[in-house]
C-alpha cells in the first residue's frame, strides 16, 4: 500500500519536522519519552512519518536505527497515512466466546477491506486488537477512542452509518 493512494489530507508532512521538535520539547527532550512523542505525533498527523525520525533521533541523542526499531515494535503506531477513523475490533478470547469471528467477517465484507487496510474512500482504517477491557460486554469495538460493547452486525452497521453521516457518537 503506497501513501499516494491514500488520504491526501495526511500526505503532506510539510512542517512535520517542526512539529516533531515542538513535541519533543514538550516532553523535555527526554529519551525515555519516545513512546509519548510518537503518540503525540500520531495524534496530530494520523501517523508517524519516517521523515521525522532523524530529527527525533538527533534531539533525543539516540541513533535513528534505534528510534526506527521502537516505532516498528509497537502495533499501535502507523508509519503510513491512514483513513479518518480507526476501527479496532477485538479478536481475543472473550469476544470469540461471543462470536467475534462473525463480526470480523462482516466488518471486512461491509467495508471491503481486510484487517490492516484502509477503505477506498479513505474514511476508515480497520484493525484487529486483542482485548479492549470490555469482556463482559463482548464483542467489543473501539473507534477513535470511543468504546462500544455488545456489537452485533446490525449495531456495527448503525455505528458506522452514524459516523459516515458525520454524527457525533
Amino acid at each position: 500500500m503506497t501513501k499516494s493512494t491514500l488520504n491526501v489530507k495526511n500526505v503532506a508532512p510539510a512542517g512535520s519536522d517542526e512539529l516533531a521538535r515542538t513535541i519533543c520539547a514538550a516532553h523535555d527532550n527526554r529519551p525515555d519519552a519516545l513512546l509519548e512523542i510518537f503518540h503525540d505525533l500520531q495524534h496530530d498527523l494520523g501517523y508517524v512519518p519516517e521523515e521525522t525520525l532523524t530529527v527525533i533521533a538527533d534531539i533525543l541523542n539516540r541513533s535513528r536505527a534505534e528510534i526506527y526499531g521502537v516505532l516498528t515494535f509497537y502495533h499501535e503506531f502507523r508509519r503510513t497515512p491512514g483513513g479518518q477513523h480507526t476501527i479496532k475490533i477485538c479478536r481475543a478470547e472473550a469476544c470469540q466466546a461471543m462470536h467475534t469471528q462473525e463480526l470480523c467477517r462482516h466488518a471486512q465484507d461491509k467495508l471491503r477491506v481486510k484487517f490492516g487496510e484502509t477503505t477506498a474512500d479513505g474514511k476508515f482504517n480497520l484493525e484487529a486488537v486483542y482485548c479492549l477491557g470490555n469482556c463482559a460486554l463482548s464483542p467489543a469495538m473501539m473507534i477513535d477512542g470511543d468504546l462500544y460493547g455488545c456489537v452485533d452486525k446490525e449495531r456495527f452497521d448503525d455505528i458506522i452509518a452514524d459516523i459516515d453521516r458525520g454524527a457525533t457518537a
Binding site: 529519551p31 521502537v70 515494535f73 478470547e93 470469540q96 461471543m98 469482556c135 463482559a136 468504546l147
Partner: protein
C-alpha cells in the same frame, strides 16, 4: 407527585464499559428531561458498580439509599421520569436498592469498596469513604514497619504471578540507592480481565495512595503507571487524578507536611501485549522496544533506569491502602490456605451476568459462573472456561468446583492469574482455540527467545495440520514436544505459558482434535 426542592443526585457511570453501552447519551437525556420537567437533578459520573450486564446502571439517591435502574437506554429516560424514578419508584428497569442486589451484596469489597460509590475525581468523596487513612497511618510509621504490614497481610501479586508483595518491597527497601522507583503495571492485556481498568477509572486515588505508600515504604520518590493504549479513559482519569492530588498536596513535595516526596507520571503503552511482562514494561517506559530482559538482576535490585524498582500490578497497589488502614490481620483473615485476602474476579465471555465480583479466595469457579454469572448468555451448556487470560488453561465443566486459590488451581494445571474468567458454551471448537493461542503468540512475541518467536509459528502450522486431518497422531506428538520446548526454553510467560491453553485444550477436549475434517474447519 411532589417536586423536590433540592437537587436529587442521579448517578450515571463514566466507566468505559458503561460508556460503551451509551452512558454519555443517557446522562445527557436525563439532564434534558429534568430541565424540561423543572426537576432539579445533580448528575454524578461515578465508576461502575461492576454489574456490567446492567450498564448503563443509573442510580437515584433516596432517603432509603441508592436505587438502581438498568440497563437504561436514552429511549427509557422519559418513561423513567414519568413513573417517578427520581423518588425511587418502581419501574420495569428498577432493581431496588443497589446495596441489596444479591450480586453486589454478597461480595467482599475491599479493594473495590469505593468503586461505583463515589465520584472518582472527587478527593472529598474519596476521603469521606476512608481514603488516605492508610497513607496517613503509613506516614507516622517506620518504613520497615509498612513493609512488614504488607508482608503480614499475605498480599500476593495480583497481576498473576502471585509473588508475595511484601518480600518484593523488602528487597527494594534493603537496597541502598539515592533513586528508587515504583512502577505500576497497568498493561492489563489479558482477555477476560478489566478489573485494573475499573479501579483506575472508578477510584484512581486508591491506586495513587497505594503507590505513595509503596514509595514511602521502600524509599522511592518517583512512580510510573504504565497503562495500555487500549484504555484511553483510564489514562485520562489517572492524569486528571494526579493533577488533583498534586494540587491537594497528596502528591509532590512534603506530602501533607511530612518529610516525604512522591511524584507520579502516567506512561501509555502502544499495543504490545508482551509489555505486561515486567521487564519488557521497564524497557517500554525507558522508551525502547519492549524486549524482555534476563533475570537476574531482579528489577528490585536493578530495575527502571538501572535503579531498584518495585513493580506491582494495579490491584496489588490498590489493596495496600486498606491493609494500612485496617491492619494486616483484617486483610489476611479473608481467603484460604496461602491465598489471603480477596481477588476481583471478572466474569466475561459468554455469560449472562458478566461483571466484577470481589470475593475472598476459596469461592469456587462454579459459584462465580453459575451463582453470580447465571450461566451462559446463549443459554447453552458451558463447555469450557479459560482462567487467567490467554496464557491460562481451559478447564472443562466438571472441574468448576475447584476453589479459586493459587495452589488449588496449580493442582489442576491451571492458573488463577489476574482473576479473569472467560466462559464458552458448547459451540466452541477447542482445536481452533488452541490454534489461536499459538497465533496470538506469533503476533505478540517480542522475538527475543527462539522457542517463543519460531515455536509459535511452528505451533500454528502444526495445529493447521491437525485440524486439516494430516497425520494427526504424529502432529499431536510434535505439538506436545514443541510445547515442552516453549515451556522450558522461553525467558518469560509469553512463550513459557502459551503451551498452557494449548495443552489444556488437548488434555480436556481431545475429541476436538479428532473431528472429521470438514466439521473442524479453522475460522
Amino acid at each position: 407527585m411532589t417536586k423536590a426542592r433540592t437537587a436529587i443526585r442521579v448517578y450515571v457511570p463514566r466507566d468505559a464499559a458503561a460508556l460503551s453501552m451509551g452512558a454519555d447519551s443517557v446522562a445527557r437525556a436525563i439532564a434534558a428531561e429534568a430541565k424540561k420537567r423543572g426537576d432539579k437533578v445533580e448528575i454524578v459520573r461515578n465508576g461502575s458498580r461492576g454489574m456490567l450486564w446492567l450498564e448503563p446502571l443509573v442510580e437515584v439517591e433516596t432517603p432509603e439509599g441508592r436505587i438502581a435502574y438498568g440497563p437504561v437506554k436514552t429511549s427509557d429516560v422519559e418513561d423513567l421520569f414519568g413513573t417517578g424514578f427520581l423518588e425511587g419508584k418502581a419501574h420495569r428497569l428498577c432493581h431496588g436498592l443497589t446495596a441489596e442486589i444479591p450480586y453486589f451484596k454478597n461480595q467482599e469489597r475491599l479493594t473495590f469498596a469505593r468503586v461505583g460509590l463515589i465520584d472518582p475525581l472527587s478527593i472529598e468523596d474519596y476521603r469521606k469513604y476512608d481514603g488516605y487513612v492508610g497513607l496517613t497511618k503509613a506516614m507516622a510509621m517506620e518504613p520497615i514497619d509498612i513493609v512488614d504490614q504488607v508482608t503480614k497481610s499475605g498480599l500476593r501479586g495480583r497481576g498473576g504471578a502471585a509473588f508475595p508483595t511484601g518480600i518484593k518491597w523488602k528487597t527494594v527497601h534493603d537496597t541502598h540507592n539515592a533513586q528508587k522507583y515504583i512502577c505500576c503495571n497497568a498493561d492489563e492485556g489479558d482477555s477476560g480481565t478489566f478489573a485494573d481498568r475499573m479501579l483506575m477509572e472508578g477510584d484512581p486515588f486508591c491506586l495513587i495512595e497505594g503507590m505513595t505508600i509503596a514509595g514511602i515504604a521502600v524509599g522511592a520518590t518517583k512512580g510510573y503507571i504504565y497503562v495500555r493504549s487500549e484504555y484511553p479513559h483510564a489514562v485520562d482519569t489517572l492524569r486528571e487524578a494526579i493533577r488533583i492530588a498534586n494540587r491537594a498536596n497528596w502528591l509532590g513535595r512534603n506530602i501533607q507536611g511530612s518529610p516525604y516526596h512522591f511524584d507520579l507520571e502516567v506512561r501509555m503503552g502502544a499495543g504490545a501485549y508482551v509489555c505486561g511482562e515486567e521487564t519488557s514494561m521497564l524497557e517500554s517506559i525507558e522508551g525502547r522496544r519492549g524486549l524482555v530482559r534476563y533475570k537476574p538482576p531482579l528489577p528490585a535490585i536493578e530495575g527502571l533506569f538501572g535503579k531498584p524498582t518495585v513493580i506491582n500490578n494495579v490491584l496489588s497497589l490498590g489493596s495496600v491502602p486498606i491493609i494500612l488502614d485496617k491492619g494486616a490481620d483484617y486483610y489476611r483473615d479473608f481467603g484460604m490456605g496461602r491465598s489471603r485476602g480477596t481477588l476481583a474476579f471478572q466474569l466475561a465471555g459468554n455469560i449472562k451476568q458478566g461483571g466484577l465480583v470481589e470475593k475472598a479466595f476459596g469461592v469456587t469457579a462454579r459459584e462465580l459462573i453459575e451463582g453470580y454469572g447465571a450461566g451462559t448468555l446463549s443459554g447453552r451448556p458451558i463447555r469450557a472456561v479459560q482462567f487467567g487470560g490467554p496464557l491460562g488453561a481451559y478447564l472443562p465443566e466438571h472441574l468448576l468446583d475447584t476453589p479459586m486459590d493459587y495452589e488449588e488451581f496449580t493442582k489442576v494445571d491451571a492458573l488463577v492469574g489476574h482473576g479473569g474468567i472467560v466462559v464458552f458454551d458448547d459451540t466452541v471448537d477447542m482445536a481452533a482455540m488452541a490454534r489461536f493461542a499459538m497465533e496470538f503468540c506469533t503476533i505478540e512475541s517480542c522475538g527475543k527467545c527462539t522457542p517463543c518467536r519460531i515455536g509459535s509459528t511452528r505451533g500454528v502450522e502444526t495445529m493447521d495440520r491437525i485440524i486439516g486431518g494430516i497425520e494427526r497422531e504424529r502432529n499431536i506428538e510434535i505439538l506436545t514436544d514443541l510445547c515442552e520446548t516453549m515451556t522450558d526454553g522461553s525467558l518469560c510467560a509469553m512463550g513459557g505459558l502459551t503451551p498452557m491453553p494449548v495443552m489444556s485444550a488437548l488434555r480436556h477436549f481431545p475429541e476436538d482434535f479428532h473431528r472429521p475434517v470438514q466439521a473442524a474447519a479453522a475460522e
